[in-house]
């Protein structure tokens, strides 16, 4: 415990029997909790659990078609906040309660200078005016560690990066030193290293002000790092609450245990698979170091698979299945009439993957990992260098070569909502790769049925449309499409980043099983180091279009040679790490 006992004195925020719903449906069942002065409470849950609605209700920011009942009390304000009118609520917001939202790109007014948006919190409540407010805003921007705060105050939001905008949001929310700060997934849209810095900043700023915190997130590791107490929400109910230590080491509710088990990528069950909500009973809690080591990783579990040939097992003279040499990619940006400047997306990339190897490509946004994948799949041309897949030199202008290569290499894409044509049935989607091979419709139907079954979907899924499936099911369809023409190589572009934790574990298990079963070579692109560690045996770390470090997963994660890799590994929140820090 970092703070004084929250039970002492009246709590800062008391929520009693809060329900939220539309006229027709209840979205949040009666919910009660309290936050003491300076206390940090986490609210965790998957999408649709009602956690963000709860935060909005406390702030009085629910959408107009939703209504809330129950009691919400803030120390020092008489009565129920839910009974206050907009004007009275507005006087509390920004003065006694501040809020930071998830999406840094849209949460700031694009037409207003950043400094003015910070100053607005003060001028609205009369805590500072005119020049004084402007000066205060610059001070606050300095406090949130924006480089050159005076300059930043004059910038427009689009001139700042995502992390910088979240800093601005924080400065605006904390300008009047409120008693309560509500953060709704404040770092979800940020890269891990930026996330770490913003979390540190939240930590530092609320500690300095003695501000209470309500922190909403889906990420258990993040909540363990920031909060003292946790409420777990599922389907509109709080299923469990307690201290971080209690919840994360001795979860009582099956859902909590499932969530915990599924998000722990270092823990696997007896068969070497990730835990899912269903298999979570065997889960023993976030790893003591021995446990993490004892648990076999999926990459090591497939020894029974006949085609598995790990690089170390292969002879010295074995030829890589994928070989990328001196790959470069520059985009030309045209500005105005004559100006053209080149943006370098990739520079001097050398990567090779042996047959049966599992290569992870990790990097933050802008690292060039997606560009690398697009070139590998023959979707965009390289500026220099070569990419060889099997016997084919990949060249987007060589139609015959591409056709041959694409029988060997297929891709699973990131976004389960954008990667399936909304106007096609599952059968049409899955069988599409067969059409370019000239397969007849009877054969297409037969093989689509086979592969859909192989990814764990019912046969009647064949005749439904994408919008009738959940995100996890859609990723299964995507995987089925990639596997239907029996490729040798599967390239996956962040296939689980848009999925909830519990679904993520299922899809990763499926991928892992299929890679073994089909004897696939895997190239797995991800920003999530934990996922790559679980699934891959080799990894390359990319940054700014360059290859920072490459090697086996163990070597790179446990003994990183480069400063950036070290920072990346350190910034990645893990349950065990966060608990140890508590």
């Amino acid at each position: 415990m970092r703070r004084t006992d929250p039970q002492a004195g009246t709590p800062l925020l008391t929520v009693e029997g809060l329900t939220i719903g539309t006229r027709a449906r209840t979205l949040v069942e009666p919910l009660s909790f309290a936050i003491g002065a300076g206390e940090r409470v986490g609210l965790i849950g998957e999408s649709g659990s009602g956690k963000s609605l709860t935060a909005s209700a406390v702030m009085g920011l629910l959408a107009s078609e939703l209504s809330a009942a129950g009691r919400v009390e803030l120390a020092g304000e008489g009565g129920n906040l839910l009974d206050l009118d907009e004007r009275a609520l507005a006087r509390l917001r920004g003065r006694r309660m501040g809020m930071v939202f998830q999406e840094p790109m849209s949460a700031l007014n694009p037409l207003m200078r950043v400094g003015d948006q910070v100053a607005e919190t003060m001028t609205l409540h009369g805590t500072a005016r005119g020049r004084q407010a402007t000066a205060r805003a610059v001070e606050l921007l300095d406090q949130v560690h924006l480089p050159d705060p005076a300059q930043a105050a004059r910038a427009y939001p689009h001139q700042l990066s995502g992390g910088q905008r979240q800093r601005v949001m924080l400065a605006a929310a904390l300008a009047n030193s409120p008693d309560l700060l509500i953060c709704d997934e404040p770092t979800t849209a940020l890269d891990v290293t930026v996330q770490a810095a913003v979390l540190d900043l939240i930590d530092e700023q609320i500690a300095a002000r003695g501000t209470g915190l309500l922190f909403i997130t889906h990420d258990l590791a993040v909540v363990a790092r920031v909060c003292e107490r946790v409420l777990v929400m599922h389907a509109g109910r709080v299923v469990e609450s307690g201290t971080v230590e209690q919840i994360f080491t001795r979860p009582q509710h099956a859902y909590t245990r499932g969530l915990l088990a599924a998000s722990d990528l270092t823990a696997t069950d007896a068969r070497g698979r990730l835990f899912t909500i269903r298999t979570a009973a065997e889960y023993r809690g976030p790893g003591t170091p021995e446990q993490a080591e004892a648990a076999p990783r999926a990459a090591e579990s497939g020894e029974a698979a006949p085609t598995e040939a790990r690089p170390s097992d292969a002879g010295e003279d074995a030829r890589p299945l994928i070989e990328i040499r001196g790959l470069e990619k520059t985009y030309v940006r045209r500005g105005g009439l004559f100006r053209r400047h080149e943006v370098r997306a990739l520079a001097g990339i050398d990567v090779s993957v042996m047959p049966g190897g599992r290569l992870g490509v990790v990097g933050e946004s802008g690292s060039g990992k997606t560009t690398l994948l697009s070139i590998l799949a023959g979707l965009i041309p390289a500026s220099a260098g070569t990419v060889r897949v099997g016997d084919v030199l990949v060249d987007p202008h060589d139609a015959a070569g591409l056709a041959a290569m694409r029988q060997d290499l297929q891709v699973v894409f990131q976004d389960p909502f954008a990667s399936l044509d909304p106007r096609m049935t599952t059968e049409e989607i899955v069988a599409e790769p067969l059409r370019s091979l000239g397969a007849g419709s009877a054969e297409r139907r037969r093989r689509a049925a086979e592969v859909v079954e192989a990814v764990g979907l019912d046969r009647d899924a064949l005749f439904r449309y994408p919008h009738q499936f959940s995100g996890g099911q859609r990723q299964r369809i995507s995987i089925a499409r990639a596997l239907i023409c029996r490729p040798r190589i599967l390239v996956a572009d962040e296939p689980v980043s848009a999925l909830d934790v519990s679904v993520r574990a299922q899809v990763l298990n499926l991928l892992s099983d299929l890679v073994d079963e089909y004897g696939l070579t895997l190239v797995f692109v991800s920003h999530d180091l934990g996922v790559v560690r679980h699934l891959c045996d080799e990894v390359v770390v990319m940054r700014g279009g360059e290859l920072v470090e490459a090697g086996t997963v163990e070597a790179v994660y446990d003994r990183p040679q480069q400063e950036y890799t070290r920072a990346l590994v350190a910034a990645t929140p893990t349950l065990a790490g966060a608990l140890a820090a508590q």
Partner: protein, 314 residues
């Protein structure tokens, strides 16, 4: 700066392409301009005389360059039919049209901005639906029908305003205004209906923006957030549309000038078309097209000024 230059260059290219299109259109005519101008009973000698007089016997590229060169100097040539120089005619009539169009746009905006915003805020309620429905009906009314109805009620019925004609401001400002009321209303009411729908959707769009929620989290009321942060953002698309709609008004004015017998550029255009006075048509069309293109340019530049995101991309 370079983006500005490139936009200007693009504007000039488009204008040039438009001159080619207009000139070419006039040449597709079955028979030639001199034949038409000389009339059906003309002898070959008459035609030849007109051709020689107006230089129509020269090669087309020469005629084109001559026409464009003249326009650059502000000289649109002399009509083959009426033998009157075209430039002064355009200069006089275009003023009437501009007064009509700009006044209509001002009135339309004065109606559309409050009505559209109200309709957006009342969305989902009966009053909002009524406002939306009215604007939907208004869009479907042709401006000349609106003109006829206005004349029936306010001129023939109530006798408040004259049903047609024009009085220049120097001949008496009251007369100028009273002659202007009905034509302006005819154009403005229909335009207001169109703009109302855009204002409504722009405000609705802005109401969904995250930054309004941020402003409320900082302590603005919902209405305050919309007023301070929302309306300025909503104004950008509305201004853009209003600019585009000015072009529509310009063409609408051609019809309205006919109804109210106003000496605008539209009336001159229709007269020239009826007389088959092709050089005059050519000149007037070019002026109208140029006005549309200039409007587009101005909107684009205005957009750049209003939106810092576009500005810094430049």
């Amino acid at each position: 700066m370079s983006a500005l230059l490139s936009r200007l260059l693009q504007f000039l290219l488009t204008v040039w392409a438009a001159t080619v299109v207009v000139f070419a259109l006039m040449q597709v005519l079955p028979g030639n301009a001199a034949q038409v101008a000389a009339g059906l009973q003309a002898t070959p000698e008459d035609v030849a005389r007109i051709e020689a007089e107006f230089g129509l016997d020269r090669p087309l590229p020469v005629q084109y360059l001559d026409w464009v060169g003249g326009m650059l100097r502000g000289d649109f040539g002399t009509s083959y039919v009426t033998h009157v120089p075209i430039s002064p005619l355009i200069a006089d009539s275009v003023q009437v049209t501009l007064i009509l169009v700009l006044a209509s746009m001002a009135v339309a905006l004065l109606i559309a901005v409050p009505v559209g915003s109200t309709a957006a805020l009342l969305r989902g309620r009966a009053a909002g639906a009524v406002l939306s429905g009215l604007s939907q009906v208004g869009v479907a009314v042709p401006n000349f029908l609106a003109a006829i109805l206005l004349v029936m009620v306010f001129s023939l019925g109530l006798g408040w305003f004259p049903s047609s004609g024009w009085q220049a401001p120097i001949e008496g400002f009251g007369g100028f205004l009273s002659h202007l009321v009905l034509p302006v209303l005819a154009l403005a009411l229909v335009q207001a209906a169109i703009l109302t729908r855009y204002v409504r959707s722009a405000v609705l769009e802005v109401l969904r923006e995250d930054y309004l929620r941020t402003a409320r989290a900082k302590g603005r009321t919902a209405a305050g957030a919309l007023a301070v942060h929302g309306l300025r953002n909503a104004a950008i698309p509305v201004i853009t549309v209003a600019g585009v709609q000015l072009a529509t008004l310009l063409v609408g004015a051609v019809v309205i000038e006919q109804v109210f017998v106003l000496p605008g550029i539209g009336s001159e255009l229709i007269r020239a078309v009826q007389n088959r006075d092709l050089l005059t048509v050519q000149g007037i069309v070019m002026v109208l097209v140029l006005m549309v293109l200039v409007l587009n340019l101005v909107i684009d530049l205005l957009y750049t000024v209003l939106d810092p995101r576009v500005r810094s991309r430049s």
